[in-house]
Amino acid sequence: MVKVEFLGPIQKPTLELEITNLNELPAILQADAEVNIWLESCAVALNDTLVSSLEAPLKDGDKISLLPPVCGG
């Protein structure tokens, strides 16, 4: 089981999913209208490292994070 957490302004509780590759995630998230509107502008991290590709095998306990647009300072 992997966790998907939504950071910052995305008001959505953490999901727990049974997927084995990051490339399974788009279909699942796109099906949720409330989440779908954020996807175009979100970066993705796997275990707190930003990823540039969704081809990544997942193992039990992995954490995926969605990072919406930022504005520090």
């Binding site: 302004p9 979100c42 994070s65 930022v70 300072g73």
Partner: protein, 147 residues
């Protein structure tokens, strides 16, 4: 060094501590950037969320980059509410000579604005409103919208 503080930053104190910390390090230049909450659009203040694990690793990469240039970077940021005319952000660069410090502070602040995992909200009429229009998608965003 990256320090996160709840609420507004004590700017004079932090600038002083950083100056003292590097006093014997033989740096010739110390540049600091302080970000202060401006009164605009009728806001009462700003509020910040941040995601520490990626913020710290982002900052660590900058520390490494600075070291290669013989420089040192420090940063402080607020978590939670910061009211008008209070400060929420300080970045500083120490370097032996001025050019490295002048260039690095600019690059660092711009990358901070574009990529540090911090989210800003306007405090207005007792609401906390995501500052969507002023926010920037982190480079590489949009992967999940495809496929």
């Amino acid at each position: 060094m990256l320090n996160i503080y709840t609420g507004a930053l004590k700017v004079p104190h932090i600038l002083k501590e950083w100056y003292k910390e590097e006093n014997s390090s033989n740096y010739g230049a110390y540049i600091s950037f302080v970000g202060t909450v401006r009164s605009e659009d009728g806001i009462d203040g700003l509020s910040f969320d941040l995601y520490e694990p990626i913020l710290y690793s982002w900052f660590h990469d900058w520390e490494e980059k600075a070291i290669k240039l013989g420089a040192k970077i420090k940063m402080a940021h607020s978590l939670g509410d910061v009211m008008l005319h209070e400060s929420s952000y300080i970045a500083a660069v120490f370097s032996p000579k001025r050019r490295v410090a002048l260039e690095l502070i600019d690059e660092f602040v711009e990358d901070f604005k574009a990529n540090a995992p911090i989210w800003k909200y306007d405090l207005k009429d007792n609401k906390r409103i995501y500052a969507k229009d002023r926010s920037t998608a982190i480079s590489g965003s949009g992967l999940l919208a495809k496929g």
